[in-house]
Symmetry: C7
């Protein structure tokens, strides 16, 4: 069973606290809408969205920092996912 995102949506898997520490990202926990590190597990096809052509610039497997503000949480097969729009992804974290 898997999530196939529509349009410009991207499915993210949040990195666990331990992984987060390992990657060197320490996020302040005082605010609910602070960006978060996650791994991309599925990318929508893009296309014409709200009358505008949207190209996807992210790929499965990338680690990203995203703004949690517009994301929707889903649990599938015991794993939590976050579905965001590509535009809610702020930056890719490269090693």
């Amino acid at each position: 069973m898997k999530l196939v995102p529509l349009a410009d949506r991207v499915v993210l898997k949040q990195l666990e606290a331990e992984e987060t520490t390992k990657s060197g990202i320490i996020l302040t926990s005082s605010a609910q809408e602070k960006p978060q590190e996650a791994e991309i597990v599925a990318v929508g096809p893009g296309g014409v969205i709200d009358g505008k052509e949207v190209k996807m610039h992210v790929e499965v497997g990338q680690k990203v920092i995203y703004s949690r503000y517009a994301g929707s949480e889903v649990k599938l097969d015991g794993q939590e996912y976050i579905v965001v729009r590509q535009n809610d992804i702020l930056a890719i974290v490269e090693d």
Copy 2:
């Protein structure tokens, strides 16, 4: 008697709690606007909506995760439906 959605609207039938468990999706119940799993029972024709051409990318029978935020609930012949815009559908759940 059936609902024929207009424009980019999609009629959804929420999956029962038991079905939800069977499919492996467990939704947190703490927030009212959390996404939800549902099955598509009718799809509008798309077309020019608010001056922009909208194509429909979903089909009857698909299981989807949607954002409950903008949906409208309707009861027809004892069955509850949710009418959402295509844009409120976040992802298709595939087996």
Copy 3:
């Protein structure tokens, strides 16, 4: 005396509680902005509205589910009407 709607407006006549039961639609009464069943009694001409061409896709006599949110109530000759924009009509109810 009759109401001739402008632009993309549609005049609706709400179905009475008894009719509603007959048609099999049971609406939850807990929220003010829940969709409602009604019959179309007049349809505006459409045309260029807010700089965008709007075509009318509904007809007099159709039963529809609409979102009450943006509608305006009017009483004419002892009959209550609701004036909505076409976009506030969610779906047509077909037998």
Copy 4:
């Protein structure tokens, strides 16, 4: 002395309570933004408004139902007027 409306504005003269009764329109008085019956006394020229061509579809002398929400009240020579945008006129009342 007279009011010459600019752009897509329309000057309305509200019909008195007695006239309202005569015309068969009874308005609920419980909400401030309910539509109201009025007679058109002046119509703006239309033209390019906010970058979009607007044509005027109403005429002096027509009785209309309008949404009071965006209207501005003015008193001129002891007569009250309402200045609305054409888009705030919901329907024309025809005999």
Copy 5:
């Protein structure tokens, strides 16, 4: 010393209470955003504003009714002025 308005802005000089009475306009004083009568003392050049061509349709010396909502008050050489956008002018008052 004078105010030269930019873009689609218009500089207004509010008519005094006595003048207001003389012109026959009596404004209700219960609301802060009610329209007001004023005389135009300077008109901006119009042009491309927010990506849209705006032409100016008012002239210095005209008496106008405007919506006070978006206006800014300025005092220059002891005289109070109101700077509004042309779009905040509802109608011209002609004798």
Copy 6:
């Protein structure tokens, strides 16, 4: 050290109270968003901003009335500046 504004931004230096009095502008001090007199010390290049071509119509050295609402205050070398968008400038004050 100097501020080089981006896009359609303009750097202003507020005129001191004494200068303000000398120029004849007296501003009401009761509201925080009232317009203010200032001198332009730097003008951005304009260009395509939010998809729209913006031309700059103001120059360094001009005295202007601006709406304080969207401005950002900065202190550089002991001098306070206000960074506004050109659109927040209401009018130029000419002698």
Copy 7:
């Protein structure tokens, strides 16, 4: 490990209080959304964003004043960064 911003986003490193003093910028600390001085450490590629072509006009190494309002804070390898859109950068600080 580094942050690679997407679209029109820019990664900033806030200047320390001491650096801030050295550069002569003194920021009022009374408001949370006041602009701030920072150094650019990464610049997104620009491109078509929300249907509009955006070109990047800033470069790594520049000192800038930005509006903190829309920025997102991230900590990577013990260093705090701010991710903003180019449009949130008000001005470049040149020596």
